[in-house]
């Protein structure tokens, strides 16, 4: 019978032996060596049945297939756009995936998306050598016009979205902003006034700061209600 060395929510460092015996399986952030499950990251332990997982405390964005990301067009070539999505290398969006419109031979691609434009796109493929392909085909994928971008740690994105999007819809209700959350930690906000956008942005920063706390929804709700009462400055 295997032995578990850690409890749920313990903070571990790389090399910590999480479990012994073949009954436990390493998931993200952990690996097996002989009959031991060892942590590969600094993070918080999560145990799900036989699976032992380490949730990192911080980290960079690593693209996965079908992630919805917010990217910034960094270069335009003859048949591709290059998009900075916050990963080590720029993602490539081909002409075919970039638009459903008919494009004439020799057309100017920057008329669709120019350098500096922000887009919501889907990661359509991640190759073995970690080259990223993007696609604009799908519901809600488009060029972003106006608004502002807030960047947070990509690890904290699930907390900003909340259970079934509860957190993000609460912020939408209180601030009246349109919000799009990219899996790469970039969040697009567009409200009626800059003040609404600042408030939404502050709420998101609060979530990032207190992401580890339980009862986060209530904390954010309290914050938003307090600010709402104070009214505009």
């Amino acid at each position: 019978m295997g032995k578990l060395n850690v409890e749920e929510k313990t903070i571990v460092v790389p090399g910590d032996v999480l479990a012994e015996g073949m009954d436990y399986l390493p998931a993200g952030g952990a690996f097996r060596e002989n009959d031991k499950v060892i942590s590969a990251q600094v993070g918080v332990v999560e145990i799900n049945g036989r699976l032992v997982k380490v949730m990192p405390l911080a980290g960079a964005y690593v693209p996965r297939k079908d992630d919805i990301v917010i990217g910034r067009v960094s270069d335009v070539s003859y048949s591709n756009w290059f998009v900075d999505i916050g990963y080590a290398i720029d993602a490539v969006m081909s002409l075919k995936e970039g638009t459903t419109e008919f494009v004439e031979r020799g057309a100017e691609l920057s008329e669709f998306y120019g350098i500096g434009d922000f887009v919501v796109a889907r990661v359509s493929n991640v190759t073995k050598s970690k080259m990223i392909d993007l696609s604009m085909k799908g519901p809600g994928l488009r060029k972003l016009i106006g608004g502002k971008i807030t960047t947070i740690c990509p690890i904290k994105v699930p907390r900003v979205i909340g259970k079934q999007g509860s957190m993000v819809s609460m912020i939408k209700d209180y601030t009246g902003c349109q919000i799009i959350v990219g899996q790469n930690g970039r969040i697009w906000l567009s409200g009626k006034t800059p003040e609404d956008e600042f408030l939404a942005s502050e709420a998101i920063k609060l979530i990032e700061e207190k992401a580890h706390m339980s009862g986060l929804t209530d904390i954010v709700k309290e914050f938003l209600e307090k600010r709402k009462k104070e009214g505009p400055k």
Partner: protein, 257 residues
């Protein structure tokens, strides 16, 4: 990271990307002295909001320049460390780093705050060269003001090293003699975005600005150096308005020293 024209749109709506007023500096503004007491004769670390700049002062003995045999000299060098911003690359000095060091140099030199005559030990033979090195630790906008403040703070903090026989400098033992530094020249940079003037820009505002004016003031508020930057022109009235704003803000910065 901001969308195109975001800063300009906000300026039209009378606000800024971080919700500050146009004439408001980021907080906190701090100045720490002797941050590198073991290796430099004087040093200081300045923070303005997220921007952090470290300046160090080294002294060296050299032969005076032939055109000014009875004067010492200063040398200002700024290196934009790749660590401090994703925009900076290692390699030969960039235009930005040269401009930064020259604006700081001119602010100190032309204010006459440092008495060059007193930096001369023997006319035509030996003088002190004061070397001021500026390193941004986190370049998050407004390097000009932060660097100028750090350089001045480091000069104020500096002590001459002891000099033995045959002009051998003992860097390990500093004397208690300060540099002949009589007052603090303080610089303030004003940006023009659309028809608005603002101080203490974040990096995104610097990139969006039409024009920039750095003005250095003496203690009485006299102008001793100016530098204009940016793509667009400034009218005479605009320059005067920017100087007025810079004068008020420089006086506030001076209190932090």
């Amino acid at each position: 990271m901001v969308p195109k024209n975001y800063i300009q749109t906000l300026a039209k709506k009378n606000t800024r990307a971080d919700g500050r007023k146009f004439d408001e500096f980021r907080k906190p503004i701090t100045v720490e002295y002797s941050v590198s007491a073991k290796s430099a004769e004087g040093s200081a670390r300045v923070t303005i909001g997220d921007t952090v700049v470290v300046a160090g002062v080294k002294t060296e003995l050299a032969t005076p320049y032939p055109d000014s045999p009875d004067e010492g000299s200063i040398m200002v060098n700024a290196e934009l460390l790749p660590m401090s911003s994703p925009e900076f690359e290692s390699g030969p000095p960039s235009i930005d780093s040269i401009e930064l060091s020259r604006v700081v140099d001119r602010g100190i030199r032309e204010s006459k705050a440092l008495d060059f005559k007193k930096l001369c030990l023997r006319v035509g033979e030996k003088m002190w060269i004061i070397m001021i090195d500026i390193y941004p630790i986190n370049a998050s906008g407004n390097l000009f003001d932060a660097a100028a403040l750090a350089a001045v703070a480091a000069l104020k903090n500096a002590k001459f090293p002891k000099v033995g026989e045959k002009d051998v400098i003992d860097y390990k033992n500093l004397s208690d003699k300060s540099l002949p530094f009589t007052f603090m020249p303080v610089s303030c940079t004003v940006l023009k975005i659309g028809d608005k003037f603002l101080v203490d820009p974040i990096r995104d505002e610097e990139l969006a600005a039409d024009a920039r004016l750095s003005v250095t003031f003496t203690e009485e508020g006299k102008i001793c150096a100016m530098q204009k930057g940016g793509q667009k022109q400034l009218t005479h009235d605009e320059v005067l308005a920017m100087i007025d704003l810079a004068a008020v803000k420089a006086a506030e910065l001076r209190k932090c020293l």
